[in-house]
């Protein structure tokens, strides 16, 4: 009897899909870990990492006066390596004025419009990517702490719901690939855990820089879903969930990704 039951249990176990469910904190790995040694070397060497060109542009913009107020970022914030240390590891963060979370790009644009009295920078513009790359670099090696603020709880929960919701004509959820099938291959490419540690990134396939929002939109289009608009509340909620899911992981921006 007993042996019979055990046998049935073993059969059932064998029939279960492999590795369904969320990734244990100790098992989390950055996209860096999945890369070839060549791509890792490119990211590790600042003279070879194309993302550093964007950081350099960001440094120029940081010190350039702009807008009707004729102020530069440094006029208010001083040395970026001091004032922005750890900032990216905290974003998306709660913005009291709008009572919503905002991501780093939106924070930069609030400074543009409110303090510099200049027009906001367009999503994915080289200027916005440059400034966020410069700021993100100041969090290199620091643990992600975004999401600690209790006021973010509803947005994180919304992001989590979206992460697990199947969508698009292919009817596949983020979690189906990045929780359940990380380490496998979608056609030629390795599927990673979708950790947001390195944004903005230089992506070899794009031959250019891109934000986490651009990456997420790419995945949404991949499953033939209507991608969220840049800066939409649901987009920020997904970014926030990804960051809270990566809580404690070390930032490695600006990263290189295949």
């Amino acid at each position: 009897m007993m042996r019979r039951a055990l046998f049935v249990l073993a059969l059932l176990g064998a029939a279960l899909p492999a590795a369904a469910g969320e990734i244990a904190p100790s098992e989390r790995r950055s996209g860096y870990d999945f890369m070839s040694s060549d791509t890792k070397a490119m990211q590790d060497d600042d003279t070879a990492n194309p993302g550093m060109l964007s950081v350099l542009d960001g440094d120029t913009l940081w010190n350039t006066k702009a807008g009707a107020a004729n102020k530069s970022c440094s006029d208010c914030h001083g040395d970026v390596s001091v004032s922005m240390k750890g900032a990216t590891a905290r974003y998306p963060a709660f913005n009291a004025t709008s009572a919503t979370p905002i991501d780093l790009g939106q924070r930069v644009n609030l400074c543009r419009t409110q303090h510099q009295e200049a027009a906001p920078l367009a999503p994915e513009s080289s200027e916005l990517l440059a400034l966020t790359a410069l700021i993100a670099k100041q969090s290199r090696g620091m643990p992600i702490i975004a999401g600690d603020d209790a006021r973010l709880a509803t947005s994180i929960a919304r992001g989590r719901e979206l992460f697990f919701q199947r969508e698009g004509q292919l009817n596949i959820a983020c979690s189906n690939c990045h929780d359940d099938n990380a380490d496998r291959h979608l056609a030629g490419s390795a599927i990673t855990q979708g950790q947001p540690t390195g944004y903005p990134i230089y992506r070899l396939e794009w031959q250019g820089m891109g934000s986490l929002q651009r990456r997420i939109r790419g995945c949404m289009t991949g499953v033939r879903a209507q991608a969220f608009d840049f800066d939409a509340a649901d987009m920020i909620a997904l970014e926030l969930y990804l960051m809270s899911r990566a809580h404690g992981m070390k930032m490695d921006a600006p990263a290189v990704r295949p």
Binding site: G168, Q169, N171, R184, L186, R224
Partner: protein, 148 residues
């Protein structure tokens, strides 16, 4: 002579594919764990079926590998298609393609001949099945030929 603007617009509209109109699916009957009858009433063409399986737009080899070494990038999210025709009957293969979720609700394999029950489908793909009835039949004919 230039046709009038309104005539031009009428001509353009007439030339548009019916894509903007929701497509109706051919009716089919599930019997047991399969769909016994061809969706088109005709047998499919296995050679076209192979080409379809390999085509990126069909998405099969994003997840599956199979007995086609010429395809460079094959996925490993799903079992190999090699021997699919020995493991399943054409009726079972047809239902698997039409709506794999009716066999296994948890599956990640898309439903290739279904248009409802999806969230946020992009406008380019809305109200259309991933594959046409004819394409499904071609793929069924190809898969049925994969024996081991």
């Amino acid at each position: 002579m230039m046709p009038s603007a309104s005539r031009l617009i009428a001509m353009i509209i007439a030339a548009l594919p019916a894509a903007t109109v929701a497509q109706t699916l051919a009716p089919y009957a599930i019997s047991g764990d399969g769909i016994p009858d061809s969706l088109t009433g005709q047998p499919g063409d296995a050679t076209r079926g192979l080409a379809l399986v390999l085509a990126r737009s069909s998405t099969c080899i994003l997840c599956h590998s199979g007995p086609f070494p010429e395809a460079r990038f094959q996925g490993d999210l799903a079992p190999t298609l090699a021997g699919a025709g020995s493991r399943s009957t054409p009726a079972q293969l047809r239902l698997r393609l039409v709506d794999a979720s009716s066999i296994n609700p948890e599956t990640i394999m898309p439903s290739y001949y279904r248009i409802d029950g999806f969230a946020r489908v992009g406008s380019a793909w809305r109200d259309k099945p991933i594959l046409s009835a004819e394409q499904i039949e071609d793929i069924v004919a190809y898969l049925a030929s994969l024996r081991e």
